[in-house]
Symmetry: C2
Subunit: 202 residues, 2 copies
Amino acid sequence: MTQNISRDKSKKRATILDGAIDVFINMGFELASMDKIAETAGVSKRTVYNHFGSKENLFQAIVDDFLAQRQSLKTITYNPEEYLAEQLLAFANAEIFLIDSPKRLGLSRFLTRVFLNDIKYARETVSKYPPSHLMLLNWLKEAVEDNKIKSDNLLLTARVFYAMIEGAITWPALFTDGINKAAVEPMISEIITTFLARYGNA
Amino acid sequence: MTQNISRDKSKKRATILDGAIDVFINMGFELASMDKIAETAGVSKRTVYNHFGSKENLFQAIVDDFLAQRQSLKTITYNPEEYLAEQLLAFANAEIFLIDSPKRLGLSRFLTRVFLNDIKYARETVSKYPPSHLMLLNWLKEAVEDNKIKSDNLLLTARVFYAMIEGAITWPALFTDGINKAAVEPMISEIITTFLARYGNA
DNA sequence: TGTAAACTACACCGTATAGTGTAATTATCT
DNA sequence: AGATAATTACACTATACGGTGTAGTTTACA
């Protein structure tokens, strides 16, 4: 009678994922060969296939891991004691965090590329996670009730805020060498000032 | 003595470019095969190579054409007689025009993908053309002199405006089915209101 | 230490692709 | 109509890649 003894595969799996991420980031999906991925991970190609079955599966595993991690953001809740500007800065910093390391930045670039390649896939994938504006929406609701923010269309207001953050910070970072914290500081400050000039209850 | 009579190649060239654009947009650079491009253009593969020499050259020709066309935007100049909101709307509409047809939208997506693939190439390519904020910068300068706009940092002010337009309109359009003019109208209006709430001289 | 799962090395297949060479055909200008 | 530039059809090369099969080696656990 043979027992079903199975060893821990999670370490090799992580090693493969790391190597694959590296290659995907630097070469893109199409030009990333499975041989190159195996070599970069320091693993035989056969092992890559034994773990993931196909290039598509390997890719999907990376995407799922990445988006799940992104989802686990620290929540920000309205605090009536704190300056609005301080709290809005926390929202901005949460966005910046997402592209603040070379790996996260690279993965963001890579995923953006893939999404632009297949809009339908992009929509389906993104829709599996709660919308990014949700947290700010809740925050705005409480701030309006507290008479600190004036807005008769919270969704529009939230979208204006994220438009500024993404248009001024996130997207430019993808096309340059990433975030220079000192350099973006005046821009963030200006964005928050602009936001409060429009929606702050003076 | 043979004369050097050469026929007009520009039409075939345009045909090839059209087909290539189509295939590049739908399959991306790597997966766009020269056979497929030739077939789509309704031209023999040999002719494609006779015209462009390589896939790289063909791609580069498309990029150059596209960016040169983009550059030939109608200029917008400051008009002291017209409402600021009206004039800012013209800037917004100029941005929207760039992604307003399926072909321009597709090319924008494709180019964005390529640029994300090679940041260095993106910088070099984009730097061959004058920065997109230049026109607004000149406009702002005159509006400040006319006491209609208040700003002690015109560049920052211009960047805030384009951050809102791009973050709320341009980028989202790339990930969806493009621009729905009626749907973006309230957002543009809100952006201009926000901009004037901060920088308008009440 | 024995044993089975996990891994490696490596050869191999089918297919796709960028690019070339060439002979025949078509279109254009005088 | 004649000359020739442009185009076509097509065969062909070299290479690369996703994926598989297998025999042997390493690793971890009882």
